[in-house]
């Protein structure tokens, strides 16, 4: 899965000062080259949403966040039809590109894991 639940080396990289120093320029270059910012997207708009847990996480966004997300997706589809990226001042800046959905997805996954734990718990008497 593309997104917060896939296998990632990021925590390891972040924990090492040297590695993050080396890799940050490369990461930012990759981030800019990926091109989603040109279409006004935030990174979390790209999460695969055809999943039950992500759908539940989407339901936990504030009405404002839901509205903004719908707007970004609509604007990006339109831009895509025109085969022309947005004017440069409308590109998503690095400050705007916050992970607004990932924490909710992580929380939902944690809840699902906990439910599975309680469902399959073997009780022993001490």
């Amino acid at each position: 899965m593309l997104g917060p639940l896939s296998f990632s080396l990021a925590p390891y990289v972040r924990s090492s000062k040297m590695l993050s120093k080396w890799l940050t320029p490369f990461a930012s270059w990759y981030n800019e080259t990926a091109g989603y910012k040109k279409y006004g997207f935030k990174y979390d708009d790209l999460l695969i949403e055809e999943r039950e847990d992500v759908q539940r996480a989407l339901g936990r966004l504030t009405p404002r966040e839901q509205n903004d997300r719908a707007f970004r997706i609509k604007r990006a589809s339109h831009t895509s039809v025109l085969h022309r990226p947005l004017p440069k001042e409308e590109w998503t800046s690095t400050e705007e590109d916050v992970r607004y959905l990932a924490p909710h997805v992580e929380e939902v996954v944690k809840e699902d894991k906990e439910r599975a734990y309680w469902d399959h718990l073997a009780v022993t008497r001490k």
Binding site: G59, R60, T62, E111, E114, R115, W118, L121, V123
Partner: protein, 421 residues
Amino acid sequence: MLAARRVPRIARSFATVPDSAGYKVAAVDANQPTSSVTFLVKAGSRFETKPGVAHALKNFSFKSSAFRSALGTIRQSELYGGVLSASLGREHLALTAEFLRGDEEFFVQLLAEYIQSAKFTRHEFQEYVTPVVEAESTEASSDPAVYAIELAHALAFRNGLGSSLFATPHSSLTVEDVSAFAKNAFTRENIAVLGTGIDQGTLSELVQRFSGAAKSTGAASSTSASTYFGGETRLQSHGGPETVFIGFGTTGAPSPDLAAFSAFLSPTPSIKWSQSLSPIASAIPAGTSVQSVYLPYSDASLFGLLIQGSSGASVKEAGKAAVQALKAAAKGLSKEDAAKAAAKAKFAAASAIEGRDSLVNILGSKVLAGSDASVNTVLQPFASVTAASLSKAASSLVSSKPTFVAVGDIASLPYADELGL
């Protein structure tokens, strides 16, 4: 043989109310096989900052806290065989755990941690709390008896005690409102911990151990003193019995005289399928019911008669008889009647403190107020009820402006003056 038989030691100790980590703790142990612990919070509907916020807080009970999720709370207490419940009154919110003896450590910890670190997340409010609040409000508004008494409180006391126990079905509550209300309510000064079937010392020790992070504001929640207003309202409703509530209110601490007056008028017989000796019982038409309602609060009480029947005409007839009996009784009672009424009220009060829920409600408010909370303080006042004191209390009650509520087919239901009020 005889010497080997051990008589269980019966420890009754709810007179002692020590402060344990700022909480007031009281316990009574009658050696029953199960225990219960209640955190009684001054967060009833009279303290609410926005209509319905207390109702929402009640339904938020046992949702996720910093220490365990809502699911974890449910599954873990199920494993112990315990029952968690929350009940809301106009004065208090009671969070109760009932469990087998020996599991008190887990359940006191669970309750204490919820009080100190409930998260009040927005998605739980939307996914779990709001649907239940709406369902409970809708159910309450479809029961004419509950609805009539809610309306009577609003008419009688307007603010404070007048605010409804139920949120309106389409309320504009947000999770921030609930969280802010809880933050003010869940403080050391506002909470009394009451145990039944548990030793006082054990409970105090557990409360002390688990309530380290409990917040303190320095002062308990308070509202302005209640004032009685009274008035009349009529609401169209269908599907339930035709309902009329005739009420009178007083302010000040509840008096045993009013409880006795209510017991005297109550047409509910002591033996099933018989007719009670109440003056109302013989006068009401068949198929109509009259119940006496006596609701004492810390600084006011509401007394009334709830009349229900299948048609407006029969309710009118029963209402006339009830008002006539009420006025006659308020003029003066015989000595025998007064003694009978006091005995009936005393029995009702004594049997109420046998039950777990009512024990918590009756003694809890005394514990929170810091006054003496023993069985005697509940039963002793009935000794002072005489014919003269009863008549005095009843006549001053009836001279106040009546609270009249009619719910049902308002075209046929009577007006207050038609009943002789």
